[in-house]
Symmetry: C2
Subunit: 338 residues, 2 copies
DNA sequence: CGATAGGGTGCAAACGTTTGCAGGGTCACG
DNA sequence: CGTGACCCTGCAAACGTTTGCACCCTATCG
């Protein structure tokens, strides 16, 4: 292993000069700098991150905690977080909780110990547990808000977060269905404990009055393909003419189940999802869904974290969403004999 | 930040004892150990990885380089690599090359500098470039083989790798189609530069004679949904009754295109994929495809790497694959007028 | 021409661990 | 009772950087 000492000897300077030539070039004479740079290149010098991390107290790495890497939603988040971090000179450590809230604290702990900060995406943990796991670690949340503890005196600031405008998304979806003549629409909710799930249901309820549609709560389902299959049967049983699903995976499950049961989409039933996963555009009929700027989400999360690390005052925010109308939604079926 | 010194003071021992109590408990008296452990817990001591990494020369982290995190295939690999590594006490740094072979060396470099070793999955680089990027870094390859350089004297051992039995997979697929009566089968190949792509085509050619089927090379296509759409039209034009695709994404594209063109699957055309991505089982008709034990692939890659790190002699290998027959393949259509 | 400022460099002390070496104590054995 | 063996612990030196401080030298100004 070649160290600063080797480079120093080769360049005929002291190790401090080597360090400065490489780290803050403006503090060393041009000619010396060149000599050092050249020597370093010739020897193939690679600075030791552990050493500089130790001295500077910075690792130049960030951590990312996600519930499930195989979920295309989080795959996209991971991809964009990784891309942005790398562009800013940071490496990314990733940990997958496998949808288990119980392991989140331990993952957070492990990653926090070796990184400068964390992006925690859609944590499944409850408020108290999450707050406990996050004490002392600089983190930002993606798709989750964590209000500061009520304990007076604990002046802990709220954890910065970046989310999407769930309420607006479902409002757009419901408006779309309303305009198509649907009066009774089913809502296939996600897990009761899901933060964004709660926001979406609340948004739907708020929008229902405005758009003059009756909401039928079909129940809470797993946010996967399988959950959608289950939800589809409930939708058919409840007499709705449209259903909005918690997310795309579920919507795709609904679509598949409806096809199996011989129900025409969108002729007899309209389906709208949420997320606009890659796949949504590829199936037939293509899925009408609320598009989330996933790449921006990851990127903004990193920006937020970096702002915190650099001492700025990061400002939490919501990303705008946009309903993307495709083939799975259409006019409500004409009144039948009832 | 609480250090060994703080714990030492609290426990009334020296820092060496603290270090030993925590690192090699058998070397310190039971009573002292307890005292130290308790003090550490009370103070909330977290060992500094940078420091121990510096001293021990080990980071206890590994790197993973993949072409595209959004590709469900690599998402699964990433997930299993991460799981296995964590189970073995290692963290995982991930880097996404975005399918760009040119950035792979730089990613490998960056990760190698902060980890103990690398898992490089399906690298897109050519042999020479890859070999160059890998000199001096301990790495294992997933889904790629890299024969040692021919240069005599450069005693560099081959890079250990873990792959899947591509030849057997396509042989099974072709045998299945043959048994169903197909005599003219189209092959929708992936990018010409793909290592596994080459193996699969070779395997098909080898198996064709044995199963008495005529192979029609439809061309090279992008290994994505869009590539499949393109391939489907070629398949229809060529008069084959079945097509085997380079991977599932492509097969799904073929399926979708055939449906759009009103071609019944499997009535008029059979389709078989490769990989058995989650989604393959979910579409209708469900995709007949060669199942790869993806979870084991990542796991084995990590095991291989860890074996290397621990001084063992890792042995490269192939994972067995298994044809999974679903709805997209069926008997060849009866002879028509022509 | 002398004083002063400031740029360029080196010395040495950190950063928080781990670990070779050695000292002190206890115990068993001769 | 003396001697050696062995267990437990502490001292101090690493590991490879970064950086405060101090030094020297040159240029500038009065």
């Amino acid at each position: 292993m070649v160290t600063v000492h080797d480079v120093a000897r080769a360049a005929g300077v002291s190790i401090s000069t080597v360090s400065r030539a490489l780290g803050s070039p403006e503090r060393v004479a041009t000619e010396t700098r060149d000599r050092v740079t050249r020597a370093a290149a010739e020897l193939g010098y690679r600075p030791n991150h552990a050493a500089s991390g130790l001295r500077k107290g910075r690792t130049h790495a960030i951590g990312l905690v996600v519930p499930d890497l195989e979920n295309p939603y989080f795959a996209s988040v991971t991809k964009s977080v990784q891309a942005r971090a790398r562009a800013e000179g940071y490496e990314v450590l990733v940990a997958d909780s496998d949808e288990d809230a119980a392991v989140e604290p331990e993952l957070i702990d492990a990653l926090a110990a070796r990184t400068d900060g964390l992006v925690v995406a859609s944590p499944r943990s409850g408020e108290a547990e999450l707050r406990a796991a996050l004490v002392g670690v600089t983190a930002v949340l993606a798709n989750r808000e964590l209000p500061p503890a009520r304990k007076a005196g604990s002046g802990a600031a709220a954890v910065p977060f970046i989310a999407v405008d769930d309420a607006d998304g479902v409002a757009q979806a419901l408006g779309h269905l309303s305009a198509l003549g649907h009066r009774k629409v089913g809502v296939a909710a996600g897990p009761a404990s899901s933060w964004s799930g709660g926001r979406r249901v609340a948004g739907l309820i708020a929008a229902a009055g405005r758009w003059d549609v009756e909401l039928v709560e079909l129940g809470n389902f797993q946010p996967y393909f399988a959950g959608g299959i289950q939800a589809a049967d409930h939708a058919l049983a409840s007499g709705v003419t449209a259903v909005v699903a918690f997310n795309d995976l579920m919507a795709l499950g609904i679509l598949d189940r409806l096809r199996h049961r011989g129900v025409d989409v969108p002729g007899e039933m309209s389906v709208v999802g949420f997320d606009d996963v890659q796949l949504a555009a590829l199936v037939s009929p293509a899925l009408t869904t609320v598009h989330i700027p996933l790449a921006r989400l990851g990127q903004r999360a990193v920006d937020l974290l970096l702002a915190r690390l650099r001492g700025g005052t990061p400002v939490s925010g919501q990303l705008p969403v946009e309903l993307t109308i495709r083939g799975s939604s259409g006019p409500a079926p004409a009144e039948t004999v009832s």
